[in-house]
Structure formats: C-alpha cells, structure tokens
C-alpha cells in the first residue's frame, strides 16, 4: 500500500512536468467586461452609467468541492457566497433620489440609502442566522452600516422580488429584503467597491472614478449584483455573474453656465488612456439619439422600451485613442427633442397634523395613453408606525380600485416590520392613490436615534411592473448585447420589466425631553426628602414654650447703642 502511494506521488510529479513542458495557456474560465454609457438628459444633466461584469464558470454551491482559487472574481465576495450559500445577492448604495419625471428611467434602479436583497440556496436551514451574519460580513466588506439590518427592518416579500438569475425559486422563505434609507454613501464605500474590480482604479474605465467628482453630483448610486447565469447560449451549465454598476448624474447645465456641452474631462477631470488589460471588452456608448450625425460608429439598442442610437468607442482598439494616446469625448448638443415620458412613476408623502396620527399617500401614475397594466406595490414600514389596515383605500379616477392580491404581514413591536404587498391594476392615463392611516408609537428612551427631532426615515415603496413597450423588445438572450440593456431578463416582446422606487419618508415621532429621567429622579427625591424631613422633625423634636425675645428693632438699636457706648434700652 505504501509503495502504491509513493508511485502515485511520482505520477503526479510526472504529470506536472508534462504540463510544464508542453505549455499552452489554458483558456480562462472567467472573463471581465467593462462598459460606460453616457446619456444627456432632457433636464440638461448628464447621466453616466458604468457597468463591470465578471463572469466565472464555476459553481459555488456545489457540495464537496470547495472553490478556493480566484483569478478575476474577488475572493472576499466568493468566500461570502460559498459560506452563506447565497444564490443571488443584490446590494446598492445610493446618495440622492432618482427623479424619474425629469431624467427618465435609470438602467438599474435603486432607492436612496442602502438596499440589500438576497436569495439563499434552498438547502439553508437557518436563513435568519445566515442573513444576520451575512449583513455583518457585508458591512465589513463595504464599510457601511449594514450591521443595523436586523429583524425589525427585514421582510420576506412574496411577489415583488423574483430572482433575476437562473432558477425559478418561488419559496420566499429563502428571500430577505432590507433597506436602510438613512445610510449616507461616501468615499469610504466607493474605495472597497473599486477594490473588487480586477484592475482596481489603475486602468480602464475605473480611472475616471475620482471620488471628489463622483460625489459632487445630483445622484450617485453604486451597486453589486451577483447571480447565476447561463454559461453559454445552450445553457448546459451555469456560471456566476458579478455586475458592479455605478450611476452618476452630473449637473453640468448649471455649473457650465447654461451651455449644453460636456466632455469626459469636465465630468471626471480625467481622460482615458487605455482599457483594463484584463477586460475582454471595454466600450463607451454615447447616446446620440437626440443629436444624430455626430459619429460614424453607430449602434442601436432597444432599452427600457425605447429604441436609442449610440455611438460606440471601443477602448481595446488603438485607433480609438488617436495620436495623443488619450480619449476625451466632447459633445455639444441642441437637444430640443421631447423626452419620452416614462410610462410609470410614483410619489409618496405623509399627511396629517399633530404627533398622534398620520396618513401615508402613495400616488402611482400610469402615463400610457391607452393601456392598463397591473403593478406590484411593496411597502415595508417599521413597527413604530402602527398601520390601521382597515383604512387602506385604493382609488383611481375617484373610483375605488380593488387590488386583486393583497399580502399583509402585521408588525410585532420591536420584532418585525409591516409588510404590505398588493397587485393593483392601473387604468390608462390615470393616477392611482393608495392611502393608509397610521398611529405614531412611543418609543423607549434608548430606542431613539441620537437626533430624534430630525425625524425617522421610512424606506421607499417599491413598484414593480411589466410595462407595455412601444417598440418590440429584444427577447433573444443569446445575442451579444451591451451590458446595460441585458440586466433584467426580457421574456416577451411587448413589455419590459420596470422597477420604480418612491421617495423615502421622514416621519416625526413624539419625542420626549431626554434629561427627563434625571429630572424625575431629582424631583421625586426632593419631594421624598422634604416629606421625610418634616415627618422626622415632628417625631423627634420636642417643643417648648420659649421666653419671647426682644423685637428686632430694639435689638438693632441696642447694637448701635453698644457701639456708641450709650446705656442700653
């Protein structure tokens, strides 16, 4: 047996030698693509969207064999995926609110603050335990306060968040969704995010990500999406896809003295000199639909229900950079065309007065001229807003609009939030208003935030819908498409998936005076002490009749007399 062992070792050694001798690099089983889209917005702002996609043909969830050798895929995320048996992970950090009515639709929507939703593998037994640990680990990786995610702000949506990757898991016991609307996004979140890229910020499109420019903007959103996808068009095996996206809206119109003109250098104060050498494709798309005839390198794509024209710059080609070896795009545009109004948008506000009761209004706008379509509305409200669900009304065009599906999970104090999901049919060209009343709860004094008078943030509502498309959508998933148009899978030509987030709410809760406990202690102690003192005196002192002493005037006169040496009175 021992000899056999030795023989095996020799064999391995020989095999290694063979590999070394006849070396040709094996085809890598991972690839990296980078892409940037620049779209001038109707309002005069510039929307820049970066997407970085790493695809790795491996299986983290495979039993037995551990994946532990990483090349392009970041090791820290890979370890998290395999340790917590994560099937799909979506995390976004957003500063600012996406103004759908002025800017149109974003390529990948996200709510203000931090949002995290995770599908766990169906073999996980303790989903809540995994979720808790996962949020803590992610909070370390992204330098964010995701550790504040606990059972009081986590929900299991039944219909709104379906897996975006392969596999049609429907059991929402393995889904967790949480938002932190108050999370402030800044450089310390961007740095670890950039570190996940194979080229870091040393080469390729990520060179443009200078934080003082990125955060000097009207909207900033960075996200990480991990999901299993098909390895090839036959879909015989699965691969893991990591998409890192970063969306920024620059307000160049006001800062550029009203000139409709932009350039890469103006936006990022950098220019491009090379693609990331590890990227298999590296492209810049500039939306020239409203300014045709600028550049010959044109491609068209159907994205978000609209056919757009792009001029494409391929960074892997040398001629893109010209003689100066640096790429700086500059564009002036007339841009008087009307924006395509997004068919769906929503807003939300709190009404009512005083600190006892209030009412949440959610308005859903269907601007499609003749098509009605259903939308899924998800509301996750903290327990300290006590919802009166019997007051829930849905009205469109002054008539009651009964939701065809309602999923309501009542809150438990200090344990779990309210979850309200409903399927509402939006009539064409209409406003549908969803209202519900609530009562503000009194918190324990340790439960208040450090600045309670600022108010409490309530996360955005999520509206998901299949919106009818004006142009035919591209359902052929095998065709090579730009990354920004391939995130949400499209199954039919006539409609596309759209997700809209409303504004987060800021609700005031009745706030006590926080020095009160000490004041109360002092006051009661004083009262007790005074009562006790007089009681004690009554019990222990004796009272005697005393000789009446001389009146005050006489005593004063005597003192003066004594000083003067005159006989006393």
């Amino acid at each position: 047996e021992l000899k056999g062992n030795k023989y095996n070792k020799n064999m391995i050694f020989i095999q290694i030698m063979l590999i070394i001798n006849s070396f040709t690099p094996p085809p890598p089983n991972d690839q990296f693509q980078e892409e940037m889209v620049i779209r001038p917005l109707y309002s005069g702002d510039i929307y820049a969207s970066f997407q970085f996609r790493t695809q790795w043909d491996t299986d983290f969830l495979h039993d037995g064999k551990k994946v532990s050798h990483y090349r392009l895929f970041p090791k820290s995320l890979g370890q998290v995926l395999s340790k917590f048996s994560v099937r799909e992970l979506h995390i976004s950090f957003t500063q600012g609110y996406w103004r759908t009515m002025q800017w149109g639709q974003p390529f990948i929507p996200s709510p203000p603050g931090a949002e995290l939703w995770v599908w766990f593998h169906h073999t996980v037994t303790d989903v809540d335990g995994n979720w808790k640990e996962l949020t803590n680990v992610l909070s370390g990786i992204f330098c964010a306060s995701l550790n504040f995610i606990d059972s009081t702000n986590t929900v299991e949506p039944s219909a709104s968040f379906k897996p975006l990757g392969l596999g049609n898991a429907t059991d929402h016991r393995f889904l967790r969704y949480a938002t932190l609307p108050r999370e402030i996004v800044c450089t310390e979140n961007l740095t670890p995010w950039k570190k996940l890229l194979p080229c870091g910020s040393k080469a390729g499109l990520a060179v443009l990500m200078k934080s003082e420019k990125l955060f000097h903007s009207s909207f900033h959103s960075q996200a990480v999406h991990i999901r299993p996808v098909c390895k090839d068009w036959q879909c015989t095996s699965t691969a893991w896809e990591l998409r890192q996206t970063l969306n920024v809206v620059f307000d160049l119109y006001t800062s550029g003295q009203g000139k409709k003109e932009w350039s890469l250098f103006k936006m990022f104060s950098r220019t491009l000199t090379e693609a990331c050498p590890l990227a298999s494709s590296s492209k810049i798309y500039v939306d020239v639909t409203d300014n045709p005839g600028v550049n010959p390198l044109i491609s068209t794509a159907v994205v978000l229900g609209d056919r757009r024209t792009y001029s494409v710059y391929d960074l892997t080609k040398k001629e893109t950079f010209g003689q100066l070896r640096s790429l700086n795009l500059l564009l002036r545009w007339k841009g008087e065309n009307d924006m395509l109004r997004p068919p769906l948008h929503a807003e939300r506000y709190v009404s009512g007065f005083g600190l006892q009761k209030g009412e949440i209004h959610t308005c859903l706008y269907n601007s499609h001229p003749y098509r009605a379509y259903p939308v899924l509305l998800l509301d996750s409200l903290p327990w300290y807003l006590r919802l009166y669900v019997h007051t829930l009304t849905v009205t469109s065009k002054t008539r009651e609009n009964k939701p065809s599906y309602i999923h309501y999970q009542p809150s438990k104090d200090r344990l779990r939030p309210h979850l309200l999901e409903m399927l509402v049919q939006l009539p064409p060209h209409s406003v549908t208003e969803v209202t519900v009343q609530f009562e503000r709860a009194l918190l324990k004094w340790t439960e208040y935030t450090p600045d309670p008078n600022h108010g409490f943030y309530i996360g955005s509502s999520v509206i998901s819908a299949l919106v009818p498309s004006i142009v035919a959508m591209d359902t052929n998933s095998t065709r090579d498409r730009p990354l920004f148009s391939s995130f949400f899978p499209t199954k039919e030509e006539s409609s596309y998936f759209m997700r809209v987030y409303t504004e987060p709410l800021l609700v005031n809760l009745p706030t006590p005076d926080f020095s009160m406990p000490y004041n109360v202690i002092c006051l009661t102690c004083t009262v007790v002490a005074v009562g006790y003192g007089s009681f004690y005196n009554l019990l222990t002192r004796t009272f005697q009749v005393d000789e009446p002493s001389a009146p005050l005037a006489k005593r004063l006169a005597n003192i003066i007399r004594r000083l003067r040496g005159v006989p006393l009175l």
Binding site: I16, P25, K195, K202, L278, I521, C525, Y532, T540, T542
Partner: protein, 564 residues
C-alpha cells in the same frame, strides 16, 4: 418643677423615635437598596483558578532503548528487560515549575527487529522497523546498534528516521562494571536523542514565554517561538500572485495542482493540531511599498534587508481580510516584478543576494520575488504568456510555512543525521515536537487568560457575570486540569485536544460581550443620582445619633460625678 418629668418624657420619646428610624433605615433600607442595585454575578471557581496561577507542569516521555544483537555481552543480556525512571525538576520562576519524567524501558531486540536492522541502508531499516511496530504518539524508540554496523555513514553516531525511531551507534559494552555502568554511560547520548525528538528544556521554556519575563529564554528559541504563529484551532493559508504589470505579463500558475501535491500532504499530517483551509487569488496592479534601487554592478534592481519591513503594508491593503472566518491568516505572496523593474533581487544584511529571493515576516507570511525577464526577449509581443514553475515556488513557500507553523529547523547536535521528511513534509517526531510545544503553549495561554479574567472580575465589581460565562470558565478550568493530567501520563494527542478546548473556552469567556455592559458605568454618575435622596435622609439620622450618643456619654459622666 411640674414640667420637668413631662419634658423628660417628651425628649425620651423623641430619642426613641430617632433610634427607631435609624434602626429601620439600617435593618430594612440599606439591605433593600443593596439587593435591588446588585449586579448578577454567577459563582466562579476562584480557588481552582488561584491554583492554576502557579502552574506545575509535569511532562512524561516514554523512551524505549533496544539493544540489537552484539551490543551487550550475554551476561548483561539476561538482566534486561528493565525499566528505569528518571526525573528532572526545574523551578522556572516563583509561579511556574517544570518536571520532566523519562520512563526508559531497556530491552533486547527481537529477531525480526535484528533482521530489520540488517537492511543495507538506514532509511530502509527505519521503514521496516516502522512496519514491525508502530510506536505511540509522543514516545521515542532508540535502537543501539554495534559499531561495526554499516547502516550509518562515517562520523555519524545517531540517525533520526522519519518516524519515531533513532539508531544509535556505540561501542560494544564489555563486562566491566555490570549493567548499571553501561546504562549510565549510555544515558547522555539517549538524553540527547530524546531532546531532539521530543522536547528540550529550552523548547518548553519558549512555549511558556507568555508566562515569563524575557531573558530567561535563550534568544534562539525565543526567536523561533515569536516567528511561529500563535496556537489557534484553525488557520487560513492564502497564496496571492501579485502581478503589477498585466499589460506586459500574462501569468499562469497552476496553484490548484501545486497545493494538492506540495502543501496538502503537510496539512493532512498536521490535522491533529488545527484545521487548515487554503485559497488563492491573483491581484493585478499590486505594487510593493518601496522602490527598488537599480544596481549598475549587476544591472538589476535590488531590495535591501532594511527596506523589507516597508514592503508589506501597502500590499496588505489589497490582500483583503478573510470575510468568512476569524482564524489567523498566513499570507504567501508571489511577486512578479513589472517589466521595467526586472530583474529584482533581495539582498541580506551582508549585501549578498538571497538565493531563494524570498523572505518571511514573523506570524504574517512570506513573500517571494519571481523574475520572469529572462523568459522572453525584448521583441516579444506583449502581453507575454508566462507559466510559473510551481515546484520552485512551492519549495520556498513550504519551507516558510514550516517555519511559521513552528516546526523548527532543529540544529542537530554534532554527530546526528536527521532524515529529511520526504513527501509528507513532516516527520512523525517533528509532529510530536510540535504537539509537545503546542500543548504546553496552550496550557500556558489558557491559564494566563483564565487567571487574568478572574483577576479582572475580582477587581471590578460592576461587571455582570452571566451563567454562560461561569460555565465557560468552569469548562476551561476542567479542560486545563484534564490537559495537565494527560501531559503527566504522556498521552500527547489527548493533552493537545484538552488544551485546545481550554483555550477556546477561556477566550470565549474573556471576550464575551456581556462583560462590557456595566463596565463603564462610572461611580460619580451613580452617586449624582443617589445624592438627592441620600443626603437629606441620612444627615438628620446621623446628627440625631451623634446627639444621642453625646447625651448618653454626658449622663454617664454625670452619674460618675454624682457617685463620687
């Protein structure tokens, strides 16, 4: 005159009332306040922990000395088998004592063992002896072979094999003086063998370095113990390939195969000590923290030994911590210098090039520089595909890993020949050495943790001690006692297991977050809350008690005066 009894009565009533109130406050009020503001403190075995503070370690080694044919004259052969126990005691400091027990069994070789010793080479003899009987973990078998034996090369007196056996060559003992003299003549050599194969006093002292002041341990063993990573139930080993120049070099390394064939056998051997997990990554655009200097004389870039200290920090930011576990990480970096800064050589303090072109950082890991500039000519098309020779790299990393794990490169005494561990990467006796020092280190660490925890809890009476902490502490103390007992018996595997349990439980108790809750509630704030109640209540009571005391004394003085 009529008023006087009345006044007397009234004052007596007042005095009684004051006394009664004071009594109520003292008998009911203070205990009630004490009870309601008390922090919960579960019972801890303080007396047992106190005993642990002064550690008396007893280590037992089983040694078997086998006389092969022709090493003992027949008269003496009749007197063996024989068992002898030697003890050695060291008082390290006021709180630590060591006692070594060597239970030595002397016997003559069996026929089969004699046959095995007749093999042509020492290595084969070692293997066949191992096939005959497997010795227990922690024990040592010494075969005495005659001087005429050709097993060992010239000038070598002792051969230490890959298992737990050693061959010792001596002259044939003549009849003079009897067995006792023979054995005592043999003893110094056997002791040297045992010191090499199980533990020496210096090794044990180095393992106890947690408990001791510096200066008591020899510099060499201290350096060894400081280099080795601290004992832990698990380790993460990360291999990182740093490619600062992906535009010029497209690097390929077969890390999976290399780990399987070079690292895994060693780790498999080490499973009794800890769990290991291995992973690897490739980092692009990762640069070292110092700019290497170009040396015209060798037309190469050089890194001096003094600047190596600054190399690691900037790289470490890129390595990323292990998100999924909290075990200590051992990093092994393979740095391929960029095309414009190649070749790069590391120089030691005497300005000589280090042949392996690698260095290690204690308790952190190792870095190796791998020059690729001679694998292509300047006309090559970039990026150049380069395959890294893993045999060369892993040889260096394996040596570094052995150092960092505390498998010391023992300097054998003169005349000793140590068989290289071969494909397993670790000889059995090396594992034993590691087990001895790890068990002692664990016992020392766990006992210091537990005693300092007990001290802390004793000093700060504000800390709440929950039941789970008390349970952890008791189980740590129990495991410690068990580990000590196993060391005394000489069962090394169990001793290590118990000592690891002790460390785990003690650290869990020490770092329990519940211990922090009331730690920082300052006394002045507490009394700021109490004073509005306590001051107005206590002042009248104390004053009236003083007054009553004065009156009583006055009356006694009056009585005495009257009597006089």
């Amino acid at each position: 005159i009529l008023l006087k009894p009345l006044i007397m009565k009234i004052t007596r009533r007042g005095r009684n009332a004051a006394l009664a109130i004071a009594a109520v406050v003292i008998v009911v009020g203070i205990p009630l306040w004490w009870k309601t503001t008390e922090t919960y403190r579960a019972w801890l075995p303080f007396s047992q922990i106190g005993e642990l503070d002064s550690l008396q370690l007893q280590l037992s080694v089983e040694v078997e000395v086998v006389f092969s044919r022709g090493t003992l004259i027949p008269e003496l052969q009749k007197k063996v088998p024989l068992t002898e126990t030697r003890e050695q005691e060291h008082q390290v400091d006021a709180k630590t004592g060591l006692q070594y027990r060597y239970e030595t069994k002397y016997r003559t070789a069996t026929i089969m063992e004699d046959d095995a010793l007749n093999q042509p080479t020492a290595q084969e003899a070692d293997l066949s002896l191992h096939m005959l009987s497997e010795s227990a973990c922690g024990s040592v078998v010494v075969y005495i072979i005659p001087e005429t034996s050709t097993l060992l090369p010239e000038g070598v007196t002792v051969y230490v094999g890959q298992r737990r056996t050693a061959l010792l060559r001596t002259t044939v003992f003549q009849g003079r003086g009897g067995l006792k003299e023979v054995l005592s003549a043999l003893h110094p050599l056997v002791k040297q063998v045992v010191d090499t194969m199980s533990f020496s006093h210096q090794d044990i002292l180095a393992s106890l370095s947690d408990r001791m002041r510096a200066g008591q341990i020899s510099k060499e063993s201290l350096a060894d113990s400081m280099r080795a990573i601290k004992s832990s139930p698990g380790y993460e080993i990360t291999f990182s390939l740093l490619n600062p120049d992906p535009k010029s070099h497209s690097l390929h390394w077969d890390i999976e195969g290399a780990v399987h064939s070079y690292i895994q056998p060693l780790l498999d051997k080490l499973t009794p000590i800890a769990n290991f997990s291995v992973d690897s990554q490739i980092l692009y655009y990762a640069v070292l923290g110092v700019n290497p200097r170009f040396d015209n004389s060798v037309s190469a870039y050089t890194l001096n030994a003094d600047s190596l200290a600054h190399v690691i920090n900037p790289v470490e930011a890129r390595l990323g911590s292990n998100a999924a576990s909290s075990n200590p990480v051992l990093n092994f970096l393979l740095y391929v210098p960029d095309a414009r800064h190649s070749p790069l050589f590391i120089r030691d303090r005497s300005q000589k090039e280090v042949p392996s072109n690698a260095f290690h950082s204690p308790r952190w890991g190792g870095i190796m520089v791998y020059n690729v500039n001679d694998m292509y000519d300047s006309k090559a098309e970039f990026p150049v595909d380069i395959d890294i020779s893993m045999a060369k790299v892993m040889g260096v990393f394996l040596a570094q890993l052995r150092l960092l794990l505390g498998v010391q490169k023992t300097q054998p005494p003169p005349g000793f020949l140590l068989q290289s561990p071969g494909s397993a990467g670790l000889a059995d006796w090396e594992l034993d050495r590691l087990l001895w020092s790890r068990s002692v280190e664990n016992v020392a660490t766990a006992s210091t943790t537990i005693t300092s925890l007990a001290q802390l809890l004793d000093q700060i009476s504000n800390i709440v001690i929950n039941d789970n902490i008390a349970q952890q502490v008791s189980s740590a103390v129990m495991s410690l006692h068990a580990a000590l007992a196993e060391l005394e018996v000489g069962d090394l595997a169990l001793a290590l297991q118990y000592s690891q349990e002790a460390i785990l439980a003690s650290e869990k108790a020490f770092f329990d977050p519940s211990l922090l809750h009331l730690l920082y509630f300052p006394d002045d704030q507490k009394f700021a809350i109490y004073i509005p109640l306590f001051l107005p209540m206590c002042v009248p009571i104390v004053l009236s008690l003083l007054k009553i005391g004065n009156e009583v004394r006055q009356r006694r003085a009056d009585k005495l005066a009257k009597r006089d």
